[in-house]
Amino acid sequence: MIDLHVDLPGLHLKNPIIPASGCFGFGREFAELYDLSRLGGIAIKSATPEERFGNPTPRIAETPMGMLNAIGLQNHGVDYIIENELPWLAQFDTEILANVTASTEEGYAEVIRKLNHSDVVKAYELNISCPNVKHGGAALGIDPVLAASVTRLAKSAAEKPVYVKLSPNVTNIVEIARAVEDAGADGLVLINTLLGMRLDLRTARPVLANTTGGLSGPAIKPIAVRMVYQCAKAVNIPIIGVGGIRTAEDVLEFLYAGASAVEVGAQNFVDPYACIHIIDDLPDTLQKYGLSSVKEATGRSLNL
């Protein structure tokens, strides 16, 4: 019997597969396709203090083995989410990781204080790495001092564990990882998307209305694996790995690099059943490499 379950701060995952924030909405669309209770957890779409329309369209562009997005954190705001989305999610036996974004430090604390009252939310995912908003987001995630400061504030507001989602758009991600660990983060999620752009040769204009967007998909997987590996060597808090995962073997690679669990993002767009396929394939894949549990796979490539 292969043991898929993973216990992390606040999150008791029956398997290590979590759809990534922004790639899964609040699960409603995918619930038409399969039972969300099969998922280890769900990182729900980012909650901001107020409603946000997001960026103008086009918001999506395809790239070789990946895609650019510049959605701009469109959501109805934290109050709407508490009133309408979280009660609906309560029917599923899966762990909800609430992604939080704001344009000010106080905004992060405000959203967290509101979500503290929800029994559905098991932990927070602090988004200090969205490349598609002008204020907050990525600006906080590229400076160790600012990243630590917002983490500290979030921790003081939070009554549940706080995972910090890091930006790969930095020279040294280890420095940021250490800074947020020192500031009290309970775990790390890495990586968010890489800043990129595409140009339309007929018009000479950017394809995305926002000019730049976040690159995701298999194209970024080697970067994500490298960053998980580097951070896992440097910190003592658990890491949730994310970036370009398509298959159970990809999951294993992230686990080997030091991740305790993973998030699946853009692949949900390509194969709407992606998470289920990966969960189904995971036991045989672990067995193939001589492993009997997910925990056993975590960090296998470290300290060799």
Partner: protein
């Protein structure tokens, strides 16, 4: 909606840069007119949203698509017997109302109107199809609408076939006074349709998920809200969204 494999029965050029692909698949057996499928082109990451041209007997699906980039070019080079991964049918299509309608199509916006025409004709409704193209080389599908028993009016922007001008010019010149219109085509055409008539418009958008999760294809509503082309559309009432 479901994911499944489709086998290519034929893939033929029917106009300049425009192809018709007939597929054997059960994915679209219950599709409505105006819905679309997400096509996975081998070697490309995201799926291509392509509107349903016709649902044919014996689990056959017809798609008409234009080569607009590398992915659709690869699709146009696929041969009979090859397999494609499909996901669908997706979105909300055209309503089949208890009244006569005028269909307005522009370029590759014409295909979803063919299945729509077939549904209206099978209910005995009179259908006028106003089909606009840039030039004669781009024209396709006019015979199909005639065979379905529609009154067909063709317009070309360069005047090389049919009425010289836009679909709106053609409607006026032909002396038609549309009640409900069902339209699909480029944005400037849809804007002109919405300014002149009432009915339903099918929008095109860059999409990722195709099921309403990613918020990649949103359009604004007049009250400042938003709707998703893939899930709430692609067909909207005139005035429902800001064009």
């Amino acid at each position: 909606m479901k994911r499944g494999t489709a086998i290519i029965l034929s893939n033929t050029m029917i106009a300049e840069d425009t192809y018709e692909m007939i597929l054997k698949t059960e994915v679209t057996d219950d599709a409505d007119c105006g819905q679309f499928v997400q096509v996975q082109v081998p070697g490309y990451y995201l799926r291509r949203p392509i509107s349903i041209h016709r649902i044919l007997p014996d689990h056959q699906l017809s798609l008409i698509y234009k080569v607009v980039g590398d992915g659709t070019r690869v699709m146009s080079e696929m041969a009979e017997g090859e397999a494609l991964d499909l996901f669908g049918p997706l979105g909300h299509g055209f309503p089949v109302l208890e009244e006569d309608v005028v269909l307005i199509g522009g370029g590759v916006g014409v295909p979803p109107l063919a299945e729509t025409a077939a549904r209206y004709r099978s209910k005995g409704r009179n259908v006028t199809a106003v089909l606009g193209f840039n030039n004669t080389a781009a024209v396709f599908g006019t015979e199909e609408f005639r065979e379905l028993g529609c009154n067909v009016i063709v317009a070309t922007m360069d005047g090389s076939l049919g009425i010289h001008g836009t679909v709106i010019d053609a409607i006026k010149e032909a002396g038609i006074h549309p009640g409900t219109v069902l339209a699909c085509g480029p944005l400037p055409m849809l804007r002109a349709v919405a300014e002149n008539y009432n009915g339903y418009l099918s929008l095109e958008a860059r999409m990722a998920c195709g099921i309403g999760a990613c918020m990649g294809c949103v359009v604004k509503t007049p009250d400042g809200g938003s709707l998703r082309v893939c899930k709430d559309g692609p067909v909207f009432r005139t005035g429902e969204v800001v064009l």
